[in-house]
Amino acid sequence: GTMYDLSATTFSPEGKIFQIEYAQKAIDNSETVVGVRCKDGILLGSDKLLFSKLLVPGTNRRIYNIDYSVGAVLAGKVPDGRALVSHCRKEATKYNYSFDIPIAGRILSERLGLFVNAHTLYGSVRPFGASVILASHCPEEGYQLHMVEPSGQAMGYFSCTAGKGKQVVKAELEKKAFRELTCREALVPLIKMLILSHE
């Protein structure tokens, strides 16, 4: 709590950086998102609450294109997430410009991780209050799923989830072998999971 949580540049005696944990809290209080790697592709899903009747349906988009072969869903604060999406797009473009091939998910998530981590090293910036789940495909490595968290940690997953209902969804994900299903077969169970997490 006190004293050690004023800046992301300070460790607590237990070895925690509270600002990063608080950023993670911002995600944990936000809508549930899920990403699942299936046999023939990747499904990304987001629970999108329209908190007012005055909102146009379809607004407040959480799923974005990064490149022709990369997509992302945002967990946590959407404005922070959009800044991350913008950075991902820049990275993908620069990579393609240098190497003339589309960027692999593994590389993009690591680059994004570095970017996110850089915002935990200085007192003058704050960590991002958003996680990005990246779905990608490249000829060499096939379909891949990665998640980048506010600490800058970027890991590859078979399925991952973030947000309010992540415990519920995680339990469901561990039960079902999504790896063996096609995207079409996995769609309905995925939607059911998101509805379940709503409670």
């Binding site: 974005y64 294109n65 990064i66 490149d67 022709y68 797009r89 473009t93």
Partner: protein
Amino acid sequence: TTSPIVTGGSVVAVKFRGGVVLACDTMLSYGGTLKFKDVCRIEQLEPDLFVAASGEYSDFMEVVRVLRNKSRESFLHADGVTLSHRDYGNFLRNLQYSKRNKFDPYYDTFVLAGVRGGQPFISTVDMYGDQFEQDSALTGLGKYFGTPLINNQWNPDCSEEQAIQAVGEVFKMLYLRDCKGHDQVDFLILREAGVERRRARVNGEWNHDMFRTHANEKRKR
């Protein structure tokens, strides 16, 4: 580029009823040398839009990359708004004009050809930034050798066969008269239903009666 090095020859595009024919030969010259014989100089930008250019080939490759990125930007937005054929032409015009004003042009005359909603589309942009959206496009020496042929044998509402025939005539003339003309031609036939590519070889008639007799006469003298 102010002096081109590897260059592509003329490009010809004509509309017909319900589509467009875009054609160019498959050669790249290195000054006066025939350096690359088998190059397809037609690049795809969208499922229904293609581009070809005469002039410096490296500049063409770069501009195609830039145009494809424009298409990609539009895709990333994912908001249901896509670039129209005219948008590409306008962007290309702006690009060429701004480069020209900096004394660093992309040394090409571009031809965009496409069909959307049953409407054929042809637009040319040269290295000064002049843009013309017309029913036919001829670049380089094709403009001079081909225009009379096109005027006599084609109209924008003709059949596909007639259009291809007329374009073929232009390339035959170019092979015979243009030093940097080649006998192998790539045709791209764009219709609403889809795209067809053809490759043909011009029949360079050396066994022409008049040529044979007159040539031999001259030699006897």
